[in-house]
């Protein structure tokens, strides 16, 4: 009567855990994930890595923390009551005399710091002062890249999360309800999708003051549609399954069925597309910045750097380093996406 216990293997792992193990076995993808996470975490501490203010100053026996607090020049026996410019040779000499000392970040420039004391005209080539050179306004390129990378990644992440949430909700409702709801939703997506996104952005950037939040809002309005189609298709397929019927017969409410039964089984395309969506979001931000429609002027951004590189074609260090950062970011994301897709593909053998 009772089936033999030997027929069931001992270890018990959930499907998502198994996918994770398969992902880990893909060395390229897993390595990309590790490197990408490391880069993101490092860029989150950009203020400590690249800043025009020293981390700690010991001046006349007293400790100062310029990162946390602004000190006026007078604090260090300067002439004016303005915030201290720590790149000023005068202040620097004060900070190195008489046993005073200051610990600077590895790269002593902030994203908006203009090096007024550069030895070469702007844009200046890489040198001991500016490792990656400066841009056409004399700002340090390395600092710009670090802050620009951080902005791009955080923006991409935010756009992806918002797009996924909206897409999943819209797709789930259409797919689960089917019929007229689906019909109306699909037509709405068709109309909404045929709006000229770029013109809308130009119009809005003319009407409103450009800001990162506005850009995020505008791009989110259009970023959910591709995903919602996949989720809708998955829901349409899964709602026919016997386990959904069985749950219905059990009296489980529609919301519960969507949440507990169908959604976990419909997330494969969502997860697979995450890295690709993120790289698309980063690219979108970069291209808008390149066109001057993106983040407000003065914000460090990869796209703006690219357009500078175009304007100063002989300043090869601008375009080359920006290009390299972009390529590496997108490549890491693509490798991760490929590995994820393989890990979640049920047809691939479990090796």
């Amino acid at each position: 009567m009772i089936t033999s216990p030997a027929s069931v293997p001992a270890p018990s792992i959930s499907p998502s855990k198994r996918a994770w193990q398969r992902f880990r076995r893909n060395r390229l993808g897993y390595g990309s994930l590790l490197i990408f996470c490391l880069l993101v975490v490092l860029s989150l501490f950009a203020e400590v890595l690249s800043n025009d203010k020293p981390l700690v100053v010991s001046y006349q026996g007293q400790l100062y923390f310029p990162l946390a607090k602004d000190y006026s020049e007078k604090t260090f026996n300067g002439d004016f009551d303005t915030p201290a410019d720590y790149l000023d040779p005068f202040i620097q000499s004060k900070l190195t005399q008489d046993g005073n000392w200051a610990v600077y970040p590895p790269n002593p420039y902030g994203p908006r710091t203009i090096n007024y004391f550069a030895k070469a005209p702007n844009p200046s080539a890489p040198s001991g002062d500016n490792l990656f050179g400066t841009d056409d306004r004399g700002r340090d390129l390395l600092a710009q890249l670090i802050y620009g990378f951080r902005l791009s990644v955080l923006f991409g992440l935010a756009l992806t999360v918002i797009g996924v949430l909206m897409g999943v909700v819209a797709g789930a409702i259409q797919g689960y309800a089917g019929g007229k709801t689906d019909l109306v939703g699909q037509r709405f997506i068709e109309i909404w999708g045929s709006m000229p996104e770029l013109y809308l952005l130009i119009i809005f950037s003319a009407v409103f003051a450009p800001s990162v939040a506005l850009l995020l809002l505008l791009l989110s309005l259009f970023g959910w549609m591709g995903l919602s189609d996949y989720v809708r298709a998955e829901f349409l397929r899964n709602r026919q399954m016997d386990y959904v019927r069985a749950a219905k017969a059990l009296g489980v409410s529609n919301l519960q069925i969507m949440w507990r039964h169908i959604l976990p089984n419909s997330l494969t395309p969502v997860v697979t597309f995450l890295p690709f969506r993120m790289s698309a979001a980063i690219l979108a931000l970069t291209s808008l910045d390149f066109l001057g429609l993106g983040v407000p002027p003065g914000t460090p951004s990869l796209g703006e750097l690219l357009s500078q590189g175009k304007a100063n074609i002989d300043a090869w260090w601008i375009s080359l380093s920006t290009f390299a950062v972009l390529v590496i970011t997108l490549l890491l994301l693509t490798f991760m996406g490929d590995a994820l897709r393989d890990a979640l593909d049920p047809r691939k053998a479990d090796r």
Binding site: A247, L250, G251, R260
Partner: protein, 538 residues
């Protein structure tokens, strides 16, 4: 005895280091009908496919000597070591194969006639027009009506039985010496199975070819084969003449297989007092699906396809109503309607209430009427643990239950279906994919038992399971009925299951109930012609 047509020696097949066929030997004489019997996963299909080296990513070892037509001086060739070119010559011409599912084995983009003609052009070198003529002749020989018209049909335009006939015509196009038939009738309705089998038998006699029949159905073996080989876990555990093996099975596994016919073990209606109120009562039930009307008319209204009409029945407590019929007869639709999952018209009462629009009313009925589906692989959500699956009903119907009590009830329900922590350590945290078909079906039953329903709708509960497992699951259902007084609405196409389980039977055909009555009356003295064929086939 003449030289064998096919002699297989120590055949081993393994996938990525896992051996599925573990050294089997058998031989076939010309014109012999050998049946390879076993449960799913026993390696029988892989055996057949590996003879033609059609399995992908497998390493095959051993020898299979086959006497090909006009081979080099009649010397038998080893199929497993033959160069690919030579083997291609043998495939289709000397050894042909028919598959279980004709819908997927035929290319949907070509007409049936073209596909048969292609074989003739490739293998026999016939010209275009001659091959088409020959294809029509072949189709006619398989008993397809209007073969000229059917030759120009695409696979989807044929019925299941006609598709299988076309497959047979294609396989026999070059008069092969050996036909590998992999579950040729499993996908067909019961009434068609006999016809296809008879056709295979006729053609086998006419052409004098040998047939290797791969099946799990012992009835087929008994009626068709000369010899039988029983496979278990990649080994042939017993082989011999059919009559011999069926009369005196030697190996315990063979005995278990022979003994797997479901046994009737239910509380008979007999002279017991008629139980009070029926749990479910339906009268004049009618279910229709909308269909698309072609042309401009279809823009404004849709037609309808009536799947069930005039269905009336009642199920008293502790009794089983069996519904028999072939695919498309409306029996599954009837099941879904009685679960309130489809719109219907007519009267349907369960537990004294009718299905209503108010969710609260429905919830009361849902507590009483529950369902177990056919395919245990799709009826459990693959991303939920056993505990989450089984306790779901409690969350809905007894939401105030404490955590401790809920877990106790889950364990109780699992114990009721014979699954416990002892056999499956960490049972509650496991996922459905770790269980076999029969175990999953037990889980599905535990899932509904936990809310103590009165009526279970069983939609082909065992037809996806192996015969020995089927017997176990049916035994479990019978025990639950005895112990708890459950009622069943049992939907099946398998007369053996009906005979073992049902008290009352309804026979459905094309959406209508053609005959109903107590199980003994209907099965022993069927009055409707359709019921008579059904009973005769089993």
């Amino acid at each position: 005895m003449s030289r064998p047509l096919l002699e297989v020696k120590d055949l081993r097949v393994s996938f990525a280091g896992k051996e599925v066929v573990r050294g089997i030997d058998f031989s076939m004489a010309p014109g012999e009908k050998l049946a390879l019997v076993g449960e799913s996963g026993s390696g029988k299909t892989v055996t057949a496919l590996s003879l033609l080296r059609l399995v992908q990513d497998a390493s095959i070892s051993g020898q299979a000597f086959f006497e090909a037509r006009g081979g080099s001086a009649g010397e038998p060739a080893d199929l497993l070591s033959l160069p690919e070119r030579a083997l291609r010559g043998i495939r289709g011409r000397d050894i042909a194969m028919i598959f279980q599912e004709p819908m997927t084995a035929l290319n949907p983009l070509f007409t049936v006639g073209d596909q048969i003609a292609e074989v003739l052009q490739l293998k026999e070198g016939l010209a275009q027009s001659a091959s088409v003529q020959q294809a029509i002749k072949l189709l006619a020989s398989t008993g397809i009506p209007e073969p000229e018209r059917r030759a120009n049909s695409f696979p989807h335009q044929l019925s299941g039985g006609q598709r299988q006939r076309a497959m047979i015509a294609m396989a026999l196009a070059c008069r092969p010496r050996l036909l590998l038939a992999d579950e040729p009738t499993t996908a067909l309705d019961v009434t068609l199975r006999g016809q296809i089998l008879a056709l295979l038998g006729d053609l086998q006699r006419q052409n004098g070819m040998a047939v290797l029949l791969i099946t799990h159905d012992l009835n087929l073996v008994r009626r068709f084969a000369d010899r039988v080989a029983v496979m278990e876990n990649g080994h042939i555990v017993e082989q011999g003449a059919v009559a011999e093996v069926f009369a005196r099975p030697q190996h315990p596994y063979t005995q278990k297989l022979m003994d797997s016919k479901p046994v009737r073990d239910v509380v008979e209606a007999g002279n017991a007092a008629i139980p009070s109120l029926p749990l479910m009562r339906a009268s004049q039930l009618r279910v229709a699906y909308p269909t698309a009307i072609p042309g401009v008319k279809g823009w404004f209204k849709s037609g309808e396809f009536v799947a069930v009409r005039n269905a009336s029945f009642s199920i008293p407590p502790g009794r089983t109503l069996g519904i028999v019929g072939e695919s498309g007869s409306g029996k599954s639709t009837l099941a879904l309607a009685s679960l309130g999952l489809l719109k219907f018209s007519g009267q349907l009462q369960a537990a004294g209430q009718s299905w209503s629009r108010q969710a609260a009313g429905n919830k009361a009925i849902r507590k009483v009427v529950q369902v177990v589906f056919q395919d245990p692989f799709s009826s459990l959500s693959p991303r939920m643990t056993v505990e989450a699956l089984v306790e779901e009903g409690l969350r809905v119907h007894e939401p105030l239950l404490g955590l401790e009590e809920r877990r106790r009830r889950v364990e109780q329900a699992l114990a009721d279906v014979g699954m416990g922590e002892r056999q499956f350590p960490g049972l509650l945290r496991r996922y459905p994919h770790e269980f076999s078909g029969g175990q999953r079906q037990r889980l599905a039953i535990a899932r509904v038992l936990i809310i103590n329903p009165g009526l279970l709708v069983l939609d082909e509960p065992t037809s996806a399971l192996d015969v020995t497992i089927q017997k176990q699951v049916l035994g479990l259902l019978q025990r639950l009925q005895r112990e708890r007084g459950l009622s069943y609405l049992l939907i099946t196409h398998d007369m053996d299951v009906i005979r073992a389980m049902a008290h009352e039977v309804m026979v459905m055909k094309d959406g209508e109930i053609v005959e109903s009555g107590s199980v003994f009356d209907v099965l022993d003295a069927p009055s409707h012609a359709y019921t008579q064929t059904l009973v005769a086939q089993s």
